[in-house]
């Protein structure tokens, strides 16, 4: 079925053990015609490739009140194509409540990273489904969820994704229902509002808007009543893939498979036509067809930028022509200031993407690439395989949707830093200009007028601190990943300090950009985590934070500060950090090196960073 040429190629690649290429083509096949019937083939292919392809392991339990087994292969296929090797355990039919409440259940024994609670209105709130809702029943259903969440959180630090309750396609009282001020759908929405409130009280608990998912695909079309009555499968065969994709929009950010930036082509991607040939008056972008499709894409890209995803241009063009259109075309929503990096030249795109990654201080695997030209997409897939290449449909009207639906752009937590990120990078461009105009490096650092604020983690910074441990790959000595829940627990533990650092300079408030976790063991104070966002590295902030840790440990009575450097593929920038700061290597194992510093004297702070500290307050 479908693209048999591509399938033959994949079979051939698998048979000849060309794993990387096979993985790439499997991903392409799934992007082009992914669906439940193809899932078995794609999953089997990825399983053959196995460890030859790098992927992140993630363990997921699905608790359910209906048949979900036919969705699991599609979910695994989606996960594989996003670089996640998903282990799935499906809970017993309708046993979700006891599994949540019983600490000895298979749910907890599986040690999941993420748990999905897939329930329907008719199972958890039959009276709401029948339309006989009262205030008591709304309270009862809410209290029931509250009990499950509380029990779950007491037993497990995993993420929990709860399905919201869906309204039925037809109200039980017919059109009369529409005459009531507090009708059936309103009662169900009230429960959903309560669920969101409950979720916000805890860390790592998220609501999946199942009602919106069903509505998006049409309430009458979503279900298959006959399959529900016979095999307890309420979702129609051709909608199973939509359920899998919706779960993926949560699992991708939870597994850390996110794009930090998107690099876009210009001609026939950001606007219709070719600027070098058609000129300003000839290209199409605006409120009317055919330019409206391109403007719709720009609006989605603006939304991504609001989420903290950086925008970049990667285009083969004459820079003058392209920049003029970017800056002056009246139909454009995106302007040069929205882009954190610009590569408009005649170089190969893979090379330009490498340069963009370097300029933005992010890994190549954190960049998504959008281009209407299948030849360029294939070139990037082959020459820069780390890049997430988005497969685009032929019709420009579908571009906006293709970007919007990509799970790599989803975020479950948004910090103030995320919203402001675009501006930080604009300030960075100004700083770079200053650095070139100042004679010496010290003069430059002094002229930045940096101020670093070090504080113990607290309720307001918990989400950002956990996010940094999840996302920071480069300047990170141990690359230990923590959830909000784990950070909160650690900060309450005696002998443990969880600190955050916020950096301001004359151009911008860089926000919360670093985390240090130390653990006192008698005479030794050990650094568990030390990480900084790359945008402040090389400006002595790291030295200031380390000096603070050393001096604080000394005040608490420690004789030595120790810390591991655990090498990964990405943290080379932190490799010499301890050596450069006077530490000596104490031991070396296959996992990494243990460094130590005798705390005989107070460590000096760099003179060009003004330190602001809050007394270490402990609950």
């Amino acid at each position: 079925m479908g693209d048999s040429g591509l399938r033959h190629e994949i079979d051939e690649l698998l048979a000849t053990e060309q794993w990387q290429k096979a993985g790439r083509q499997l991903r392409l096949l799934w992007e082009r015609e992914g669906g439940a019937p193809l899932a078995g083939y794609v999953v089997a292919g990825f399983e053959k490739i196995g460890h030859h392809l790098e992927s992140t392991a993630h363990r997921c339990v699905i608790l359910r009140s209906f048949t979900v087994e036919p969705i699991v292969p599609a979910l695994k296929a989606c996960a594989y194509t996003s670089g996640i090797n998903l282990a799935v355990h499906v809970g017993e039919f309708n046993a979700y409540a006891q599994e949540l409440l019983d600490g000895g259940s298979r749910l907890y024994a599986f040690q999941p990273d993420t748990v999905i609670l897939a329930v329907q209105t008719r199972d958890v709130a039959p009276e709401l489904w029948r339309g006989a809702a009262t205030a008591e029943s709304i309270d009862r259903v809410t209290a029931q969820f509250d009990g499950w969440i509380t029990a779950f959180r007491a037993r497990c630090a995993a993420n929990l994704i709860m399905h919201s309750l869906e309204a039925p396609a037809a109200a039980s009282q017919g059109v009369y229902d529409s005459q009531l001020e507090e009708n059936q759908a309103a009662a169900i929405h009230l429960v959903n509002q309560n669920l969101r409130r409950l979720a916000r009280r805890h860390q790592g608990i998220y609501v999946l808007d199942y009602d919106a998912l069903v509505a998006r695909h049409g309430r009458e079309q979503w279900g298959d009543e006959r399959k529900w009555l016979t095999v307890r499968l309420p979702i129609a065969a051709n909608n199973l893939i939509h359920m899998a994709r919706e779960w993926m929009r949560y699992l991708a950010p939870l597994a850390g498979k996110v794009a930090k930036a998107i690099a876009v082509d210009l001609d026939n991607t950001l606007w219709g036509g070719i600027i070098g040939e058609d000129g300003m008056a000839g290209i199409q972008v605006g409120t009317e067809h055919p330019g409206a499709a391109y403007q719709a894409l720009q609006r989605v890209l603006l939304d991504l930028s609001q989420r903290g995803i950086l925008l970049a241009v990667c285009s083969k063009n004459n820079p003058q022509d392209a920049l003029e259109a970017l800056a002056q075309h009246p139909g454009m929503l995106l302007r040069p200031e929205h882009f954190a990096a610009l590569r408009i030249n005649w170089n190969e795109k893979a090379q330009n993407l490498r340069e963009i990654a370097e300029e933005l201080n992010i890994g190549l695997d954190s960049i998504a690439f959008l281009d209407d030209n299948p030849v360029e997409r294939q070139h990037v897939r082959e020459q820069a395989p780390e890049v997430m290449v988005l497969e685009l449909p032929g019709d420009p009207a579908q571009y906006a949707r293709a970007v919007r639906d990509c799970p790599a752009f989803e975020r479950l937590v948004l910090s103030e830093e995320d919203r402001q990120r675009g501006k930080y990078y604009a300030a960075e461009r100004q700083r770079a200009a200053l650095e070139q105009s100042v004679a010496t490096r010290e003069d430059f650092l002094r002229s930045l007028e940096q101020e670093a604020e070090i504080r113990p983690v607290h309720a307001m910074t918990l989400a950002r601190v956990a996010q940094l441990t999840q996302k920071t790959n480069q300047f990170n000595v141990t690359t230990k990943r923590y959830t909000e829940q784990q950070i909160a627990e650690m900060s309450r533990c005696p002998g443990w300090q969880v600190l955050s650092i916020q950096v301001r300079d004359r151009y911008a408030d860089n926000g919360l950009v670093g985390v240090a976790i130390v653990h006192d063991r008698g005479e030794v104070s050990e650094i568990d985590t030390f990480l900084l966002s790359c945008r402040v590295i090389g400006r002595s902030v790291e030295t200031a934070l380390l000096a603070f840790l050393a001096n604080q440990a000394r005040t608490r009575g420690a004789r030595r500060l120790e810390g591991w450097f655990l090498p990964t593929k990405k943290n080379a920038p932190a490799k010499d950090f301890y050596r450069e700061h006077g530490f000596t290597m104490l031991s070396e194992t296959p996992a990494g090196q243990l460094w130590g510093l005798e705390l005989t004297a107070e460590l000096p702070y760099p003179e060009w960073v003004r330190l602001v500290t809050a007394a270490a307050e402990k609950a």
Partner: protein, 81 residues
């Protein structure tokens, strides 16, 4: 409907069971194919319903003994459409 339905059914079943289509024939049954359990049976039915735009009756789902049966059943359902 052109083409050999049995060949198409074998192709769909091969994807669902994650085996080579060449290993399947009209006589292939749940007893012979290791992957063909009740969950995969449901997956196979769903895949065929999606592909041909038809619906099997619950009794028909239970009565499918092998791929040949399924192909024959499909032929009559497609003809009736």
């Amino acid at each position: 409907m052109s083409g050999d339905i049995l060949t198409e059914v074998r192709g769909v079943a091969a994807d669902v069971f994650a085996v080579d289509a060449k290993t399947l024939n009209a006589a292939s049954s749940p007893e012979q194919v290791a992957a063909w359990d009740s969950v995969q049976h449901l997956n196979l039915v769903l895949a065929l319903e999606g592909k041909y735009g038809i619906q099997f009756e619950p009794e028909e789902m239970e009565g499918m003994k092998n791929l040949g049966d399924i192909a024959a059943l499909l032929r009559t359902k497609i003809a009736a459409n």
